[in-house]
């Protein structure tokens, strides 16, 4: 049955993907492209759309493939399939961690891991900055090209936030900031 097959395939993908959504692409090529559910070129196009829209890549791709193969219910099956392994594994780990949080070695391990996590987030920010402002297209192998409009937007937004912080004595909320950046984006990039 196609619905069960969708669920099962994406369950496997969810279970065996470590790290971010893009680590999933080889698995998707192996499991989904080979079944003829999505063509290689459609997958490449979809990665671009997914990159530009909100939401984790994993959920985006499973919804998209599920919908094109099995309609609405197919999309639901595939999406539940991809998130279920995370729910199960994380709930078990969270319960275990709760017991061992005070353990000296667990605390030691967490102390070691925190600077790494901070570096991972900072590197994501830096790589995104380089991609958006200095690179043509989305690949690091692509041509270099300085995007003056994105750079201008970055400066304008940072300036506005700085002033807001000075005047209101608190920083602008994340959702409001994103709304503002979308609005300014429309103004700057369509003019």
């Amino acid at each position: 049955m196609i619905f069960f097959e969708l669920f099962y395939t994406f369950f496997l993908i969810g279970l065996f993907t470590f790290g971010g959504g893009y680590a999933m692409i080889p698995m998707i090529q192996e499991q989904v492209v080979s079944k003829g559910w999505i063509s290689e070129s459609n997958l490449t196009d979809f990665i671009a759309v997914s990159e530009a829209t909100p939401g984790p890549f994993a959920i985006n791709i499973s919804t998209f493939v599920g919908n094109s193969v099995g309609g609405t219910f197919g999309a639901i099956c595939a999406t539940i399939g991809v998130i279920l392994p995370s729910i199960i594994v994380i709930l078990i780990i969270a319960m275990i961690m709760k017991k061992f949080m005070k353990n000296k070695y667990v605390q030691g391990a967490l102390n070691g891991v925190r600077p790494i996590v901070l570096a991972l987030i900072l590197s994501t920010a830096l790589m995104l900055l380089i991609k958006v402002i200095f690179l043509k297209g989305n690949s690091f192998n692509g041509e270099w090209e300085f995007d003056i409009r994105s750079f201008a937007l970055l400066i304008i937004l940072s300036g506005m936030l700085f002033i807001y912080k000075k005047v209101r004595k608190k920083s602008l909320g994340a959702i409001k900031l994103l709304g503002l950046s979308a609005l300014l984006g429309i103004i700057i990039f369509t003019v």
């Binding site: 969810g14 279970l15 470590f18 790290g19 971010g20 680590a23 759309v49 829209t53 939401g55 984790p56 890549f57 994993a58 985006n60 919804t63 998209f64 919908n67 094109s68 609405t72 999309a75 991809v82 998130i83 995370s86 729910i87 594994v89 994380i90 709930l91 969270a94 319960m95 961690m97 000296k104 070695y105 030691g108 391990a109 967490l110 102390n111 070691g112 891991v113 925190r114 790494i116 996590v117 901070l118 570096a119 991972l120 987030i121 900072l122 590197s123 690091f140 192998n141 409009r149 994105s150 937007l153 970055l154 937004l157 940072s158 909320g173 994340a174 900031l177 950046s181 984006g185 990039f189």
Partner: protein, 179 residues
């Protein structure tokens, strides 16, 4: 109630928003805990965003909380992609949509940087932690420019942090015993 927190979560955008909503506004979880959750999410199977949502949900409201938070995270992207999938080939050709997403990306960059600044408070500054930070950051940047085909760099870095932390605790234990 809980779902509202995650309405615009996702991808890169997700970490700073969760961090702001959950630690700063609602004080459900401390800055230190959120880093631990991120590390665990990275080193367990499944997409980071989904893992983080489940973990935060569990911390705040138990098993049900974990499940509801994850579903809450999935619904917005599910809905958006569901709509887009009907006409996605033309989607990015609309100049307004493309411009809006370009703007959003710049917003996300600013959010990520401010999250780093806030989360920095949770890290004890000493020789080892600065060293780990520098190693991880430089490897991440170098690897993104040189395509080595190695896909588990962030996972390996997390493991490096865990091992270093445990070894340091072992050393500290030995010292204590001697004294």
């Amino acid at each position: 109630m809980k779902i509202g927190v995650f309405t615009f979560g996702g991808g890169y955008a997700m970490i700073p928003i969760i961090e702001e909503e959950v630690t700063k506004k609602r004080k459900w979880i401390s800055e230190i805990e959120i880093m631990d959750i991120l590390a665990i999410s990275e080193s367990t199977p499944g997409p980071i965003a989904v893992n983080t949502a489940t973990y935060v949900g569990y911390k705040v409201a138990g098993v049900t909380g974990g499940i509801i938070a994850t579903i809450g995270l999935a619904i917005p992207s599910f809905a958006i992609i569901f709509v887009i999938s009907f006409f996605y080939q033309d989607f990015m050709k609309w100049p307004v949509i493309a411009a809006m997403f370009k703007g959003l990306k710049v917003g996300v960059i600013i959010l990520l940087f401010s999250a780093v600044i806030r989360l920095k408070k949770g890290v004890k500054v000493n020789f080892i932690s600065v060293l780990l930070f520098v190693i991880a950051l430089s490897l991440m940047l170098v690897f993104s420019f040189i395509d080595t085909g190695f896909k588990y760099l962030s996972l390996s870095l997390i493991l490096l942090g865990i091992i270093t932390g445990i070894v340091l605790t072992l050393i500290a234990n030995k010292k204590e015993r001697k004294e």
